[in-house]
């Protein structure tokens, strides 16, 4: 015998509410995690270039680009980056352009008002420089997987710092996935109009923080059990091979062009 209320037609229409923030937060976490998944599968590189050399070359190009005073060096850098892009697979080219073109366009838009009081030459100048810098960095990031980048950073930083960076990236994935689960749970439980939106989101962030603390303590206990004494031997020192001559030669060419542009 079923009770009456069970036999009645359900007429619940949830009220609309402004909770796009949950979906947007989920979106940003998903894009973060997808970037990690993409990074993870890429361990084979066409040219075995030492990532430290690669990073140094990228930084050198960006610095020279920002210091350049006329279009000669900018044209050279543009040509160089275009050639490098042309060697890359199509999806990579698309990905690089997808980030750098909007950034260049945005810079152009921001600078546009300044052309009203005679600053028009800078408009293209700065936007082009910004665009090329972002292309350079994106190329580096897309061709050097994060682990090799970390090994390459050894030249610039103490080992302990690299250990911390290593831990950061691993826990970005773990905590990112946890956040995603929490946000999805919040999404599923958000029916109709809900009050206390900030408190709910703060609950997600707060839980994330508490879990971070627990994970840190667990990790330290595990490290101590495995006799961690503070030294961090970076396994498999990235070798410097003949392929590294290519970026070094290009760097030398860049410096020469820059100096020539400045002194002529």
């Amino acid at each position: 015998m079923l009770p009456d209320w069970l036999l009645r037609e359900e007429e619940y229409l949830p009220k609309p509410d402004r909770d796009a923030f949950i979906d947007r937060s989920i979106g940003s976490f998903l894009s973060l995690l997808s970037l990690f998944r993409r990074q993870g599968g890429k361990s084979e590189e066409k040219l075995r270039i030492n990532p430290g050399v690669s990073l140094a070359s990228t930084l050198l190009l960006i610095v020279l680009l920002s210091l350049a005073r006329d279009y000669l060096f900018v044209a050279y850098a543009g040509a160089l980056l275009l050639v490098m892009l042309s060697f890359c697979p199509a999806e990579l080219i698309l990905r690089v352009l997808k980030t750098s073109l909007p950034i260049g366009a945005f810079t152009f838009l921001i600078m546009l008002p300044s052309s009203l009081w005679g600053n028009a030459p800078s408009l293209v100048w700065i936007s082009l420089k910004v665009f090329l810098s972002v292309v350079a960095v994106k190329l580096f990031v897309s061709t050097a997987p994060w682990e090799s980048t970390l090994r390459g950073l050894r030249i610039f930083m103490p080992r302990l710092f690299i250990l911390v960076l290593d831990i950061t990236t691993r826990y970005l994935v773990l905590l990112g996935e946890l956040s995603l689960h929490l946000l999805r749970a919040l999404r599923l439980r958000s029916v109709g109009r809900n009050g206390g939106k900030v408190a709910s989101l703060a609950g997600v962030a707060g839980t994330l923080f508490l879990r971070s603390r627990e994970m840190a303590e667990d990790m330290y206990a595990a490290m101590e059990c495995r006799c961690f004494t503070g030294s961090y031997p970076l396994g498999g020192a990235a070798r410097v091979s003949a392929a590294d001559l290519v970026p070094v030669a290009l760097d030398a060419a860049s410096v020469l062009v820059f100096v020539w542009a400045r002194t002529r």
């Binding site: 909770d19 970037l35 905590l175 900030v198």
Partner: protein, 310 residues
Amino acid sequence: MVPVWTLAASRVRKEVSKAGVPLLGIGAAFSFLLMMFNVPLPGGTTGHAVGGTLLAVVLGPWSACISISIALLVQALMFGDGGILALGANSFNMAFVTPFLGYFIYRAIRDVGKGRRAEYAGLAAGSYISLAVAALFAAVELGVQPLLFRGAAGLPLYFPYPLSISIPAMVVPHLAVAGVAEAVFTVAIFTFIRRVSPGTIAAAPKPRLRGLYAALAVLICLSPLGLLASGAAWGEWGTKELGKMLGFVPAGMQGGLSFKALFPAYAVKGVPGVFAYVISAVAGAAVLVIAFKLIGLARRESRRKARMSG
């Protein structure tokens, strides 16, 4: 920024217990992820919070500094969205100014008020103000560029907008939207942590001289702003300025002291104005610190001698 990082590294090693290293890495991951939350605000807008003050309160300001710097480094290197050359300035604004200023405002209000409400008020005020001040610093760093870097035709080489534009453009949206998101989110998260796991919020030791040094560092960095104020400061007029203002020069001042300082008007020959100004500020501060330290040493020596002979 390098001295801040070096100091932060040594301080963290001393203060944070042995579990420091994993906590720094995981703290950095947390601060990175915190920036990805879309905070709903009244009016239907959303904002992002940096969480600098929150991290400073729960982890300590030095650990917060390193965690946020690492998060910024990862953002620049791993995602390649730009920001490599600006890393120093970004870290200064978000990893130094925000946590430290927020932390000191929080402590000041909390110690004066005493009680839960004072604590939350301190958190809200600290996070709101520190974010707005960080935006101000960023605006100054941008707006000062047309003054410093000009090309051959006198056109600005980099950022084209002067301070009169960059400051309101940066600070107003932060005061209106981002600061509110920061304050609201910070207090909400802190409330949650306090409710669920009150033991996590450790009582940090009372900051002693650290506050003074931090304030000093901030003042030194603000000193180039003095260059922008044209004319002499109130009361520091030379005889020429007085002559213009009053129409005559008071008789007593005409034959007065003419003191030729080492660095007249804070300028050094051959060095660009702003650089010399900041150098003077740093040197001046250092000279004062050294002077007081030597005086303190002299006092201690005389006391020791008095004790030995008496």
